[in-house]
Amino acid sequence: AQSVSQHNHHVILSEAASLELGCNYSYGGTVNLFWYVQYPGQHLQLLLKYFSGDPLVKGIKGFEAEFIKSKFSFNLRKPSVQWSDTAEYFCAVNRKSSYKLIFGSGTRLLVRP
């Protein structure tokens, strides 16, 4: 079965530190890839997505992600985090032939001022 793994469950950083959150998926076919963010008490918002083309994708708020097909990975990065980036981050994948979006278990990021 298709699955999505986020290996970092909790990450604590100081402001201005660099961030990289890992995401790996198990499906070998053609996929769409997403990163969503959920700020405390709020709904999920799309950070960025990859459907095709340039594997380095830029999203909102200075986030970017790189799709590495050979590694089945779609890691999220930000060069310098801010306190306001404190949130839960979810990686999600769906096969191009499917409506079903599979989520990873999420990574809780805490940025200390």
């Binding site: 032939s97 599979i102 278990s105 999420g106």
Partner: protein, 116 residues
Amino acid sequence: DTAVSQTPKYLVTQMGNDKSIKCEQNLGHDTMYWYKQDSKKFLKIMFSYNNKELIINETVPNRFSPKSPDKAHLNLHINSLELGDSAVYFCASSQKQGRGSTDTQYFGPGTRLTVL
């Protein structure tokens, strides 16, 4: 100009009751979804409708019944509520992309259901 809206935002009820959660989207999308987010923040799809037709029905107790009166609305009715149903329920919508696939899903604000 809320894109995906849900009501109510909070729902507290007793075990055994029947309750409904409503979802509406004004994005013109033709596919809508219900997700359950448990206490550990894990998100799992429950149902999906495309143009009022059920296309995804995960392993969900049949006490949960989605209803889609039109493509802009997808309601979730839950019978005989149990303690384990306590969670945040998110509605989402997306536009169909090609055959059998979908574009980005946009999420509603969530409904926090607490069963006492």
